[in-house]
């Protein structure tokens, strides 16, 4: 069979689109982000419990008292988990994606219902969109729209489009042909047949589709979190990345609350919108717990709550209390840091977040996989990242993106990459010993993310050097999965072979052996570099200089890592703050500013 270079065609197609249609993508992006920002601001503006009240009144109106109470309890729970802002941004993301999905899918569904040709053409496209693994679509979406909301919305949208189109088409096709004929026989125009007969009768089915769209959108939120949409998806993603089961569960519960709320509310909305459903509901309504206020009452409730929210002055957060001191050199300027969930990356990222915030910058940190991180940096979506292992481990990324990046130098080194086993594993001390002990390890090397530079080095060079290619399989996975496997095997005293690197806190937690590398296959140690987007140092000369001069000792780094590890997910910055308090003077050393006395910013 000839090799069909489908991948190359797609590649060049995507390149062409990025090159020639960027104006279009920018426009789409602007619209999406505008919608999202507006909605997010609106949802997050009132105090959480007030907003929960508003959402509960909506549920009360649509479904009854019990639903309203449960909705309030659910959202109060989300707030008490300290996930309110994330939940609201997820809600905004899902709603924006849903609205756009419906704007596309409803007309398409109507069209498909009216034309067999369109239906036949649309169906395989929908199949493709729905079944294509979402990560595959996420990367091009990122190239088109950059990191952040727009890419997330698009990824969610694409996934959620299909049920909207399908259910609309189905709903319309299901309408009794005799009714359509009756409408025709009385001289109804095709447009009115659609509006007066087909759509009203198809409404329950269409609303079931809308419901599906929302549910699929929510399920896509986690994946969208990988491209930096933040919200609950981002939280779940970070938790997974750092094996923080508790935090992941909390964020998951937040998503579940949102999902149930949206599912029930849209379901009830379907009933309310369709005349038939309304009639059935009117017949059934009697009980106290299913008592529902009239729409006017519900609207009044929402308005009153909103006014209370406004009266409390909680619309629009009051200006942050900026520290009135000479150290405020950032003056609220925004800096975006991206990081890979590796321990030294987390430590240095939150260290710099804390330092820069103390210096008056507004800092956002977002977690990515290595691929999206480099893409984001190269396209200028991010300002810098502190966890680039050069020259060896991240060599591939450097070759691909190096021209669009500035290397601000190494801040830690040398590092080393290695395969490690627990020290209770006898007779295995060097890579050369591995071949004869393959059965002990089931022929498996527990790897980390396949995108990690270390993995390709392992597969392409190290295994070959030691003749392990036939005897060992490298298991692709993730750093947390590798650590979980290590933890499990260590607890049971079983032999396990993992990819690991130094520095790593695992060496202080477990008694591990680094396997010697007599042939030097792993190469010389890397340095951990800080990379910035092209132009960042020109825009921020002071920060650029700080980053260039930055360096940490092993003791400092492992100490900070251990501190963060102990504090747990979501408390990284507190850990950094505490650690800095224990090591006074470091901030001024790493981020020196000329003290100019009593120069007050806040007074102005």
């Amino acid at each position: 069979m000839p090799r069909i270079h489908l991948g190359d065609w797609v590649d060049s197609g995507v390149d062409w689109l990025v090159g020639h249609l960027s104006w279009l993508f920018d426009a789409v992006k602007a619209v999406m982000e505008g919608m999202y920002d507006g909605l997010d601001t609106l949802l997050a503006a009132p105090q959480p419990l007030l907003m929960a009240g508003i959402l509960a009144v909506v549920a009360w109106w649509l479904r009854g008292l019990l639903a309203g109470v449960l909705a309030f309890a659910g959202f109060a729970l989300v707030d008490s988990l300290d996930l309110w802002d994330r939940a609201m941004s997820t809600l905004a993301l899902v709603l924006v994606a849903t609205v756009i999905a419906l704007v596309i899918s409803l007309p398409l569904g109507v069209w498909a219902a009216r034309s067999k040709a369109v239906s036949a053409a649309v169906r395989p496209v929908l199949d493709l969109l729905q079944t294509m693994p979402s990560m595959v679509l996420l990367i091009p979406a990122m190239l088109f729209f950059g990191l952040g909301t727009a890419a997330g919305v698009v990824a969610t949208l694409i996934f959620a489009l299909a049920p909207g189109v399908r259910m609309t088409e189905l709903g319309i096709r299901q309408v009794d042909a005799e009714l359509v004929e009756a409408a025709e026989a009385f001289g109804t125009t095709p447009r009115n047949i659609l509006w007066r007969v087909q759509l009203p009768l198809a409404l329950p089915t269409i609303m079931a589709g809308v419901n599906q769209v929302i549910m699929l959108g929510l399920s896509m939120v986690v994946i969208a979190g990988m491209v930096g949409t933040g919200g609950l998806g981002g939280a779940v993603n970070e938790a997974i990345g750092q094996l923080d089961i508790g935090y992941g569960f909390e964020a998951g519960v937040g998503i579940v609350v949102l999902a149930i709320y949206l599912d029930r509310v849209t379901g009830a909305l379907g009933t309310q919108l369709s005349p038939l459903g309304r009639r059935a509901a009117a017949k059934a309504r009697t009980r106290a717990w299913s008592y529902r206020p009239r729409p006017a009452v519900a609207l009044a409730g929402v308005v009153v709550l909103a006014l209370v929210a406004g009266g409390l002055g909680v619309f629009g957060p009051s200006a942050g209390t900026s520290e009135a001191s000479g150290t405020d050199v950032g003056k609220g300027k925004e800096i975006r840091i991206g990081y890979i969930p590796w321990d030294e990356g987390i430590a240095s990222t939150f260290l710099w977040k804390e330092i820069l915030q103390e210096r008056g910058f507004k800092v956002s940190t977002t977690q990515y996989a290595a691929g999206p991180l480099y893409t984001g940096l190269a396209t200028g979506q991010l300002d810098f990242q502190t966890d680039s292992w050069l020259p060896t481990t991240h060599a591939e990324y450097w070759t691909k993106y190096g021209k669009q990046l500035d290397d601000l130098g190494k801040w830690y080194g040398p590092t080393s990459l290695e395969l490690s086993v627990p020290s209770y594993v006898k007779d295995v001390d060097s890579l050369a010993d591995l071949e004869e002990h393959a059965s002990e390890f089931d022929g498996k090397i527990i790897g980390i993310e396949p995108s990690a530079g270390m993995m390709s080095l392992l597969k392409s060079t190290v295994l070959k050097e030691y003749g392990l290619e036939g005897t060992y399989d490298v298991v692709d996975g993730s750093t947390p999965a590798m650590l979980a496997e290590l933890k499990r095997a260590y607890a049971r005293h079983q032999p396990v072979l993992v990819t690991l690197w130094s520095p790593h806190w695992a060496y202080s937690d477990y008694d591990l052996k680094k396997l010697k590398d007599p042939k030097g296959a792993w190469g010389k140690g890397d340095g951990v570099h800080t990379l910035a987007r092209k132009g960042f140092t020109a825009d921020n000369p002071l920060v650029g200089r700080w980053l260039k001069d930055f360096s940490m000792t092993e003791e400092q780094l492992t100490g900070l890592e251990a501190r963060i590890q102990k504090a747990g997910k979501g408390k990284e910055q507190d850990a950094v703050r505490g650690w800095l308090r224990d090591h006074p003077g470091l901030v001024d050393k790493w981020a020196p500013v000329a003290r100019t006395g009593t120069h007050s910013e806040a007074a102005g």
Binding site: E178, E181, E184, A185, F186, G187, T188, P275, R279
Partner: protein, 360 residues
Amino acid sequence: MRVSPRLEAEHLFKVFGRRPDDAVERLRRGADRAELRADGATAAVIDASFSVEAGEIFVVMGLSGSGKSTLLRMLNGLLEPTAGSVRFDGQDLTALGDRALRELRSRKISMVFQHFALFPHRSVRDNAAYGLEVQGVPRAERERRADEALALCGLAGWESSWPDELSGGMQQRVGLARALATDADLLLMDESFSALDPLIRRDMQDQLLELQKTLKKTIVFITHDLNEAMRLGDRVAVMRDGRIVQTGTAEDILLRPANDYVASFIQDVDRSRVLTAGALMDTSVTADAPLCGCETATRETPFTELCALSARLSHRVSVVDGAGRVVGVVPRQRLLGFLGDEATAPVACDNPEGKVISHA
């Protein structure tokens, strides 16, 4: 002066499937349905011609698959004929564009469906007002007219109900009211009573006839039930395999079936309900006035009544016209003959005096 017919169909063809025009050409040359089907074309209606007078109920009768529903849908342009023309009030429907056709349907032609086709998301009143809504009649007026139409169909008081709260018969009354509300002159009824129980069906037939006495609509009624056709139809067209095989009054069809197919069809018909004195009478006997003061019949007197009359009289029943002239007579012999489907004259008896012969 002869009034031009309200609705006129001339050489209508409808062929579904491939190359319909070729198929029509072949049908004209005498090809039959089976030949066409082999080539992927289905001839639903073949060379149908008829005319319907104003105020007449014209029934198209045929078994399922005979093409009667297709024929009906060509009369209001829901289906475009493959060949032939439909003229309504002198206007050729086949020459009209979509917009003009819709306008015509909304104002002049309405339709009643087999399964009622009421809109489940509209109240009874809104259903009845649907045609007026399409016409753009203001809400207050269309509701008033819808309520009138509903009252006419015996549904006063049900205006605010919903279709699914009504029985089948009542739903079809709504369907009828919806068709009547627009004041359309032409009413197309597609097996409108077929889905109803026999008793309700009879009620509906009676009500339609009753309404027709005052409304004088032009009605084309489709049915597969010959009894219904005979009861309702001023004239009946019998269809078979896409062709109209006979058109005529109920009596024409009953007494003079055009072919074996029609004859076999009418076997089960209850003649006593259809036949009237006019069809039965012996017209060789006429007079300027009845010879005695006994009861007389008119041409329209139904068969059963005629039998009762004949039983009360000692002689033949005289049939008189409006002016009191005797236009024919009905001997008892003839009544029994029709009932028993026996048209020949009585044979001579070998004991005409009827003496009782004793066999001692």
